[in-house]
Symmetry: C2
Subunit: 630 residues, 2 copies
């Protein structure tokens, strides 16, 4: 069996002769981008064979030169009878790539918003209880003695005890002379017993915070006793294979067996990560007694196996916003089976628990008079505006442009993506830098924003998003009504073809930024305010991390305000999930936030279409809005 | 494939050529007694082949003559390539045998004790609810609208809703314009939702009452709306194959896989019956929303898969007396999966839910000044004594003699059992009658009591249980220290051998009756009373049905009191289960009874051993106790 070693991680696996390298990558838990589902048509799974012989079936997508240099599509490459070393470009996980480490995440958040040690109060607690011994003729069963001791130690009106625990109760009671540890949570005034263990194991209480994004899933493993983060991991949501955005997932889920498939895929993603993290930390998964999950409304429906179609059908009524507590077994999480899972509440079809979690990372969650704005920019833009007195939320469809979708050379912000650019005013030629410093594979969202801003400022692009056809440049190729701008010439690129952006691509980007900007304006108008009146603008999401504020306001995505008004809070959803995992105060806060948000449906707001149309220029038809810039 | 037809039921099944007829009987759900587990050593599965060729492997147990007459042991007989008609002697089920029909059962009970129509109040109720429609911008999910409507229609502080129902909620709400039916039960002040169905199906609510006996399992199917019994069925508890009495079952259950086996066996027995009954009544099993189960402490532990060994280990502490509500899925019942199962509370290792159910059929459950005694006679004798002010309960081990165990020709009270006898004073010869009027196969418990009483009264048996060796009789065979009495000569018997009772058998019976009688006396002495002070003596259990009071007091099993003081109440456990199934008043009553019973452990009562020794005579060493008789 040939051994396949992946660089840069160094992870190696043995596979059968003739197996696909993609299988080896899956075995090794190496994430490789395969948006086409392994058909060999998107070219995004380009890797380089550093040594060893492989069997690559080139369907013409890669040039001969490239193949001669050792480049292959991993989805179309089989192992031959030889060990192989593969260099993966887009690999990401804990070690590298766009996903940040948990502790780093926390640094982005105002300390006053994070739970303090005194706030640590998990949903599922563990208490050591001494159950008195059985005596002949006392007329008490094991369960009677257990219940009596529990009711004396834990405040509650009633108790619930699953049958599975009754089966092990006699042994647990007798193993250490009646000294046992009870894991429980309160529901109303009922003590719900989650598990019983012999001896005092009250210190052994772990938790997972989970953020289920449409694209990626983040998990943090926490020691509940101290609220400390033991490890952090992010991986692609395995549902990607069934569609890139929420709408395509909702469509995919129409058949019951496909809904089940989606459910199993995301559970697989989470459980695999939990498995690896707990093994590395040498933690028994049965000791994971707490879980807090945040995700958008569709992700939560899919996780729970609830048909999501009503989310997108008039009158846009999801099945559930405020998800009741369910057991890990019901949900399908591979942690202590009887434990209760907390899930962040949603407030609308497109304003989900990821947003109510993210809000915990902002001053909007603190009783604050100042009005601030929270924006999560992704395929959907989600916005919350308000202060202690009111909160309005809405969502707009930006399309996948910011994440590289619908753009010919667009890609996510991973290794090989052009992220920074500088356009020469005279020649129009672009200097660029890629993530990871490797040869360019494409351009990511923040790179595109920077590029358009630069092209606009240097006069190579007009307010309508058309390339300047009057000035001559080697990097502008005019093709009838559509023109394209060469960012990187063929000889500099990883796959031997030039990387460019077309006017159609630019148009997509303008529509995306117009959707976000106009949604903000409609919300502000509702309360008779201007951007300048805002105390703070919070920008959440992985995309926000690489965003250049100055360039974003040059193209009219963000308003023209001083930089210190903006605050990047990263993946605020996972941080919010972490907060609600360890602190009851934050769970209560999140429920209050969810209850207080008025959901604005932009599709019913006439004003929105007008605002949107006005924003389809660079930076805007109303140039007064971007005075300082121009 | 040969067709095997069973008489008298007429049920026919096809089996593979070469298969055991015992398999065919199982397929046809014909109960055949196989206490030896099909090894061909006990001879109790004797059947007669009426037509057709079979392949019988005679190990010498049956005489040549018998085999020539067509008699075979069903456990050692294989089908040949021919249709066969088999006559089964001990078959029982709904149609015949010792198990009585439900409505007949009810006739034995004082009408004042049965639930009235106004008492009908099942644990799981169904209510039709109109859920208001979703409207654009109302900010409400399906679950929000559902919960709001439920909380307006059902009184409660909180609600619990399983994830499985959340998955079907969107479709259920939309199928009939929001008109739905909610099945629920109350736990404390929480409304626990069991199921949701579209349209108004509130009338469709069925229930099962179940009595799990060590030997047999009884099920009644009830239409909850009226409390009417739709059908009744009794079958052997499939656990019999793993041991005849509770102690051997507890021993068998020591290994976890065997505990699971016992659990599956009894669940199989119940679920098969429920399946057949619901098919016959054309009822969807999902509409069975209520279940009430009664059984002794060991049977309940085995049903729930709880290790039972502490029941018999010092200090005799079972895992549970008062069983919490568990779902049908948890318990393993094949009815509506989310519904709650009510299980009768036990009060001691050997005073179980069958007794607290049975008590509901007696004046002990009605606030009554008069002191009465309840006796359930079987392998264990269970006794409850008391009135509205106090209740004492105890159990004694009578051994299997009354049910035919440990007696050479003993058998249960089924077809072929000698039930009635009359001994000729002069010749000692016995005239007898069998159940079903067929040739005798053995003698049942009530037959033995009658026989011993007759032998004693006619002078053929002395107070020590020894046969009269002075008088000569053809039916008394003296063999050194042990003698035997021929009840039926060989030529009259089904299996061609004489049926007799030996002095060892008689000794077993005397010990059984002494155990019961002395337990009653110890209890009475505790409260300084005599039998004559009792208002009523209730006799429960299948065995009681055939008991002759006069003969029972002749041998000293029952006290010497007027016949009208005694009341036979049959299988009072299944009737109690029926009462608690349909009526909250009776469930409450049962809980009160269980709480009020003081459990007396006879093994710690010195007085018991003295009383027991004194009772090892016919009728008793203290002849004053049976003055009227002698």
């Amino acid at each position: 069996m040939p051994k396949i070693t992946f660089r840069p991680s160094g992870i190696a696996v043995d596979i059968e002769n003739g197996s696909l390298l993609l299988e080896a990558a899956k075995q090794a838990k190496i994430s490789v981008d395969t948006p086409c589902g392994g058909k060999g048509t998107c070219g995004k799974c380009l890797v380089r064979i550093e040594s060893g012989n492989v069997d690559f079936e080139n369907n013409g997508l890669l040039s001969e030169d490239l193949v001669d240099d050792g480049y292959v599509l991993i989805c179309k490459t089989k192992a031959a009878d030889e060990d192989v070393v593969v260099h993966v470009f887009s690999e990401f996980g804990e070690e590298q790539g766009k996903f940040s480490h948990a502790t780093e995440d926390l640094l982005l958040i105002d300390k006053a918003l994070l739970p303090e040690t005194k706030d640590i109060d998990p949903l599922v607690k563990k208490v050591c209880v001494n159950v008195f011994s059985a005596e002949m003729g006392d007329g008490l069963s094991d369960y009677d003695r257990f219940k009596k001791s529990v009711m004396e130690n834990i405040e509650g009106k009633d108790m619930e005890f699953p049958l599975s625990l009754l089966r092990k109760l006699p042994d647990v009671l007798r193993e250490d002379g009646g000294k046992i540890t009870v894991a429980f949570f309160m529901y109303s005034e009922t003590i719900k017993i989650v598990d019983v263990e012999p001896s005092d194991t009250s210190f052994s209480n772990y938790g997972i915070a989970v953020d289920i994004g449409t694209t990626s899933v983040a998990v943090r493993l926490i020691y509940m006793f101290e609220g400390s983060i033991l490890s952090a991991k992010t991986d692609y949501n395995a549902q990607i294979q069934c569609g890139l955005d929420v709408i395509s997932r909702i469509n995919y889920a129409r058949k019951p067996e496909r809904l089940l498939e989606l459910r199993k895929k995301v559970l697989g993603t989470i459980n695999d990560m939990v498995d690896e993290m707990s093994r590395r930390s040498a933690i028994d998964k049965r000791s994971i007694y707490n879980a807090s999950i945040a995700g958008n409304t569709t992700m939560m429906h899919l996780l729970l196996g609830i048909p999501p179609e009503n989310i997108r059908l008039d009158p846009y009524t999801p099945t559930v916003y405020d998800i009741p507590l369910y057991t890990a077994t019901e949900v399908g999480l591979d942690i202590n089976p009887g434990t209760a899972v907390y899930m962040a509440p949603s407030v609308g079809s497109y304003v989900g628990g990821d947003i109510t979690s993210g809000l915990l990372c902002t001053s909007l969650s603190n009783q604050n008079e100042d009005i601030s704005l929270f924006i999560d920019i992704g395929t959907n833009g989600e916005l919350i505006l308000g202060n202690e007195d009111f909160l309005i939320g809405c969502a707009c469809s930006a399309g996948p442009a910011f994440e590289g979708g619908g753009i010919e050379y667009g890609m996510r912000a991973s290794t090989g993506a052009i992220g920074r650019v500088c356009v020469n005013k005279d020649t129009g030629v672009c200097e660029y830098a890629t993530i990871g410093g490797v040869k360019p594979l494409g351009i990511c969202g923040s790179g595109m924003i920077a590029l358009i801003a630069d092209l606009f400022k240097t006069g190579w692009l007009d307010p309508n998003g058309k390339l300047n056809r009057d000035k001559k440049s080697d990097v502008i190729e005019i093709e009838q009504r559509n023109s394209r701008y060469i960012i990187a010439p063929a000889d500099e690129c990883e796959n031997g073809k030039p990387i460019f952006i077309s006017e159609t691509d630019i148009d997509n980007l303008i529509r995306a930024k117009a959707a976000i900007y106009s949604a903000c304006r409609v919300m502000l108008q509702k309360i008779d305010m201007e951007f300048a009146d805002l105390a703070k603008i919070y920008i959440a999401g992985g995309f926000g991390r690489y965003l250049d504020i100055d360039k974003s306001s040059t193209i009219g995505l963000l308003p023209d305000l001083p930089v210190d008004k903006f605050s990047f809070i990263g993946n605020s959803s996972i941080i919010g999930a972490y907060m609600t995992l360890i602190s009851k105060k934050h769970r209560d806060k999140q429920q209050t936030l969810a209850d207080n948000i008025t959901y604005l449906d932009l599709s019913t707001e006439h004003e929105y279409m007008d605002q949107y149309t006005a924003a389809l220029f660079i930076p805007h038809t109303d140039s007064d809005l971007f005075k300082k810039k121009n």
